[in-house]
C-alpha cells in the first residue's frame, strides 16, 4: 500500500531530475559580462596605444613610435576576436559591428599616418595628415562612446539575466513542490481507493465462503483480476462440484429407496411363498405318522420326526429373517423409554415361561433411554433372553441391567455370569445366523444379537461386548452417537 502511494512521487522526481540534467545549464551571464567589459577596455587601450605610437612617430620620426603602433595593432586583433566571442546579445552585437567598423577605419587611418602597409579595406579616401589626425580623434571618440554604451548594455543584460534565472529557479522549486504534493496525494487517494475495492471484494469472498458452508447460492464478486478473483473462482468451482455430488447423492438415495422397496416386496413374498411348502412338508409328514402308524419301523418314524423338526426350524429361521428385515424398514420414533420397567417385565416373563430357577436380578432403578419404544423393547428382549439362556447352567445365576454416563451418550449394559464366550470369536457375535455355541449346549438361531445390533445402529448407537469363557458376558450399547455431531 505504501508502495502505491510513493510510486507516483518517485516517478515524478525521476522525470524532474531527467529534465534538469538534459536541459542546457543556464549560461554564466556574470562571467561573460566581465569578459565583455575587460575586452572593451583592452580594445580601447589598444587603439589609444596605437594612436599614441602613431603621434609619437609623426612628432619624432623615430622607429620607437612606429614599433609601439605595430604592437598595439597586433594586440587589437586578438582583443577584438575575444570580444566578438564574448558578445552574444543581438542588440549588443549591432553595437559591436559598428565598433568593429570604426576600429577597422582607425587601423587604416593610423597605418596611413605611420606610412605602414594599408589593409585593403575599408577604403579611406586620400587626405592630408591633419585630416587623418582629426579623423583618428573622431574615431576614438566614437569608439569610447560605443564601448560605454555596450558596457552599460551588458550590465543591464546581466542584471536582467540573473533576475530571470532566479525566477526560473523559483518556478522550478514551486513546480517541484506542487508536483510532489500532488503526486503523494494522488498516490494516497488511489491506494485508499484500491484498498477499499480490495476489502470490499474480500468481504464478498468471505460472505461467499459462509454461503458455501450453508449451501446457499454465491453472490457475484465485483470484477477484478487478482488473487481474490482466483479464490472466488475456486469457491464457485467447489460449489458446482458440491451441487453435482448432491445430485449424485440424491440419485443414489433414489436407487436405495427402490432397492428397499424391492426388498420389502421380497420379504413379503418370502413370508408367504417359502412358508407354504414348509407347512406341507410338516403337515403331510404328520399325516404319514398318523395314517401309517404300525407300518413304520423305528428308523422310519425317526426319519419323519427329523423331517418335521427341520421344516419347523426353517420356518423359525424365515420368521427371524423377516423380523430382521422389518427392523430396517420400520420408522424410528424416539420417546423416553422406561428401560428398568421393560427389563423387569421381560425377566418376569422369562421366569414364568421357563422351568423354575433361582436368578439374582439387579436392575438400576429409574433407568430410561431416549429411543424407539418398540425397538428398544425388542433389543432388551433379545439381550435378556440371551442372559437368561446362557446362565441356565450356572449356579447362583446373576443378571444385571445398568448404565454409565460416557460423555454425550449414556452407555447401557446387560451383564450376566453365565457361559460367556471366547473374545477371539467376538467378531462373529453380531452376524446373522452366526452362533458361538452349538444347539446341544444352548439352542438358538443366531439372529438375536444381529437384531440388537441393527436396532442400536438405527439409533446411531454402538454395541460391543466383553466376556471370558464361563465367567459371563457384558453387552454395552448406546441409543445415540457417542460424539457430539459436528
Amino acid at each position: 500500500m505504501v508502495g502505491i502511494a510513493v510510486l507516483p512521487v518517485v516517478v515524478f522526481w525521476a522525470a524532474t531530475a531527467l529534465a534538469v540534467l538534459t536541459n542546457d545549464p543556464p549560461a554564466n551571464t556574470t562571467a561573460r559580462s566581465l569578459t565583455v567589459q575587460a575586452s572593451l577596455a583592452r580594445v580601447q587601450g589598444d587603439l589609444l596605444d596605437a594612436d599614441a605610437g602613431a603621434r609619437d612617430f609623426l612628432l619624432t620620426d623615430s622607429p620607437r613610435g612606429r614599433e609601439r603602433h605595430h604592437l598595439a595593432i597586433a594586440r587589437l586583433g586578438a582583443d577584438l576576436a575575444i570580444l566578438d566571442n564574448a558578445v552574444i546579445d543581438r542588440t549588443l552585437r549591432k553595437s559591436l559591428a559598428s565598433l568593429q567598423d570604426v576600429a577597422a577605419d582607425e587601423v587604416v587611418v593610423l597605418a596611413k599616418l605611420t606610412k605602414s602597409p594599408v589593409p585593403s579595406s575599408p577604403v579611406v579616401p586620400p587626405m592630408g595628415e591633419r585630416a587623418l589626425l582629426n579623423r583618428s580623434v573622431a574615431n576614438l571618440d566614437r569608439i569610447r562612446h560605443l564601448a560605454t554604451s555596450m558596457d552599460k548594455g551588458q550590465a543591464e543584460l546581466t542584471a536582467r539575466r540573473s533576475a530571470a534565472d532566479q525566477k526560473t529557479q523559483q518556478t522550478y522549486f514551486l513546480v517541484f513542490l506542487i508536483g510532489s504534493i500532488v503526486c503523494v496525494g494522488a498516490g494516497l487517494l488511489s491506494a485508499q481507493a484500491l484498498s477499499r475495492s480490495i476489502s470490499r471484494r474480500v468481504a464478498v469472498l468471505a460472505r461467499n465462503a459462509d454461503r458455501l458452508a450453508l449451501g446457499l447460492a454465491l453472490e457475484p464478486l465485483p470484477p477484478g483480476e487478482d488473487e481474490v478473483a482466483r479464490v472466488d473462482a475456486r469457491l464457485r468451482q467447489t460449489a458446482r462440484l458440491l451441487l453435482r455430488r448432491e445430485d449424485d447423492l440424491r440419485e443414489r438415495s433414489r436407487e436405495l429407496e427402490a432397492a428397499n422397496r424391492e426388498l420389502e416386496a421380497f420379504s413379503y413374498s418370502v413370508s408367504h411363498d417359502l412358508r407354504a411348502p414348509l407347512r406341507a412338508i410338516d403337515g403331510f409328514s404328520a399325516a404319514i405318522e398318523h395314517d401309517c402308524q404300525g407300518q413304520l419301523d423305528a428308523a422310519g418314524t425317526d426319519a419323519l420326526r427329523r423331517v418335521r423338526a427341520a421344516a419347523r426350524r426353517m420356518g423359525t429361521l424365515i420368521d427371524e429373517l423377516l423380523n430382521l428385515s422389518r427392523l430396517t424398514r420400520a420408522e424410528l420414533r424416539r420417546t423416553q423409554v422406561d428401560i428398568a420397567a421393560s427389563a423387569n417385565a421381560i425377566l418376569g416373563d422369562l421366569a414364568r415361561h421357563g422351568p423354575a430357577r433361582q436368578v439374582d436380578i439387579r436392575i438400576e432403578p429409574g433407568l430410561s433411554a431416549d429411543a424407539d419404544a418398540e425397538l428398544a423393547q425388542i433389543a432388551l428382549e433379545n439381550l435378556l433372553s440371551n442372559a437368561w439362556k446362557y446362565t441356565g447352567k450356572t449356579p447362583h445365576a446373576r443378571i444385571e441391567v445398568g448404565s454409565t454416563p460416557n460423555g454425550v451418550a449414556r452407555v447401557f449394559h446387560v451383564r450376566d455370569n453365565g457361559a460367556g464366550f471366547d473374545m477371539a470369536q467376538s467378531g462373529k457375535l453380531f452376524g446373522a445366523f452366526q452362533r458361538l455355541h452349538n444347539d446341544r449346549e444352548f439352542d438358538g438361531t443366531g439372529v438375536g444379537l444381529a437384531i440388537v445390533q441393527r436396532i442400536v445402529n438405527r439409533h446411531g448407537g454402538r454395541i460391543w461386548a466383553e466376556s471370558h469363557i464361563n465367567e459371563g458376558a457384558t453387552f454395552y450399547f448406546t441409543f445415540e452417537p457417542e460424539h457430539a455431531p459436528h
Partner: protein
C-alpha cells in the same frame, strides 16, 4: 339348517391339511372349498337359493380377486355383512393385519409351519366360531 364352512384357499396342500385338521376336531360341518376369489364370490353371491356358510376361512394371497377384495364384498353386502370371517394366511405383515381389521375381519390367524400348532389352532377356531360364538 345345517352349518357349513367355506374355505377360500388356492393352495391344494393347504386345503388338504386344513380339511384334515378340521376332520380331527369335534365339529363335523361340511367344508366347501373355493380355490380363488371368483369362486368364493360365486359361492357366496352366485345363486339366489344359496345357503350361507356359518364361517368363512379366508386366505389373503389369491390369484385374481384376492382375499381382501372378497372380504370387502362380504362386508359391503347386507346379507353377508354379519358373516364371521377368519383370515387364515401366511402373512403377518402389519399392513395386512391393519387392512383386514379395518375392513371388518373377525379374526386373524397366521398359519403356523408346525402342523401340531395348526391342529391346535383349528380346534380353537372350530370350537369358538362354530360352538361358543353366537352368530346370526
Amino acid at each position: 339348517m345345517s352349518k357349513t364352512i367355506l374355505l377360500v384357499d388356492d393352495n391344494p396342500d393347504d386345503v388338504e391339511l386344513t380339511v384334515r385338521a378340521f376332520r380331527s376336531t369335534d365339529v363335523h360341518e361340511p367344508i366347501r372349498i373355493a380355490r380363488d376369489g371368483t369362486e368364493a364370490i360365486d359361492q357366496l353371491f352366485g345363486s339366489p337359493s344359496r345357503t350361507l356358510p356359518s364361517l368363512v376361512l379366508l386366505d389373503l394371497k389369491l390369484p385374481g380377486i384376492d382375499g381382501v377384495d372378497v372380504l370387502r364384498r362380504i362386508r359391503a353386502d347386507p346379507l353377508t355383512r354379519a358373516l364371521p370371517v377368519v383370515i387364515l394366511t401366511s402373512s403377518n405383515e402389519r399392513v395386512d393385519l391393519m387392512n383386514c381389521y379395518r375392513l371388518g375381519a373377525n379374526s386373524y390367524v397366521r398359519k403356523p409351519v408346525s402342523f401340531s400348532d395348526f391342529l391346535a389352532a383349528t380346534r380353537q377356531i372350530a370350537s369358538y366360531w362354530l360352538s361358543l360364538n353366537e352368530s346370526l
